[in-house]
Amino acid sequence: MKKIVILLLAGLAVLLVSCASPPEQPVEEPVQPVQPVDTRAPLPEKELVEAKSLKTRVDNNELSEFALEDYQQAEKSLQEGEAAYGKDNAAAKKALDAAITTYKTVISKAFPLKTSRSQAEVDTIKAKAESIKAPVAMKAEYAAAKARYDQAVAAKDAGNFEQAISLFAEAKSLFQDVYEKTKAKKEAAEAGIKSAQDGIKDAEEKAKAADEEIQGGGE
């Protein structure tokens, strides 16, 4: 009986201890789980080189403005790829592949647009030169500029946009030169004609005065 009482008291004590409020514990920050690094995927070196090469091509040709959204997306993907490079190679490859695809989209969209704009710029200065009769005034120089223009158009039609843009730029420079020189010649001719016209008018007035003196019998 005595043993039973002891056991009951012990059980009661345990019960009391278990029901009491626990002391306040300091709140611990949850520990972030560490991302698992994919060490099995190889470094996407080839993809990085290609993405950077495409970016250089796009930037050097100033294509971004012609496909801005695509360009921004490609830039973002490239940055993500570079950030993950060496840390999470699988993610880096995925981002770089996306950058490559989007830069290619930029190139395919922008080159025809930029080529058309280059041609339009040349067309403007070409028309200005023709409006002041450059094909006559600067025959050889105009022909040279026109030949370059025709080459550019042929390159464009063949889909060689970079070459077309370069040739259009040359043609533009040549036509600009032709225009300015023609304009200078035109102005010189106008000045010469006016001077001669003034001279003839003056001569007519002098002769008329002399005629009047002679026919009037004056001195």
Partner: protein, 150 residues
């Protein structure tokens, strides 16, 4: 007086008279016509866009205009020299014909000398010089009095 000079002066005088009478303009000269034609060509070349040629034509037009001016000035100078010489000759001839008072004989003698100079200068094509001598003759004669004058 040298007969040749007199004859030459008469011919020139007739030519001037004929020209004046016919109303022929001094602009009716080859240089002026050429200048006008070149100017027309310059304008045509300009219209075509051949600005270099336009400038060349207008420059030539300017040269021919200068030649025309030279011609007109020369004809006017000849006319003036001729007119003054004729007047000087007439005045001298008149005073020689009617005679001058003795006090003015020296003036008449000087006028005859100046007249000869005027004629020689005219003949030599030195028209400005001829004009000066003719004016000198007329200035000297202006003070003379004939025998009839009191």
């Amino acid at each position: 007086m040298n007969k040749t000079i007199v004859l030459g002066l008469l011919v020139l005088g007739l030519l001037f008279s004929a020209s004046a009478a016919s109303g022929q303009s001094l602009l009716d000269n080859p240089d002026y016509k050429k200048a006008v034609e070149l100017q027309r060509q310059a304008e045509a070349a300009y219209t075509e866009g051949d600005y270099d040629r336009a400038r060349e034509y207008s420059e030539q037009a300017r040269i021919y205009t200068e030649r025309s001016n030279t011609y007109v000035n020369e004809r006017l100078l000849i006319y003036r020299a001729n007119s003054l010489l004729k007047r000087a000759q007439e005045r001298v001839a008149y005073f020689k014909a009617v005679g001058v008072q003795p006090d003015y004989q020296g003036y008449l003698d000087q006028a005859e000398i100046d007249l000869a100079q005027a004629e020689n200068s005219y003949k030599a094509g030195r028209y400005e010089e001829s004009i000066e001598f003719s004016k000198k003759v007329l200035a000297g004669i202006a003070v003379m009095k004939t025998l009839q004058e009191k």
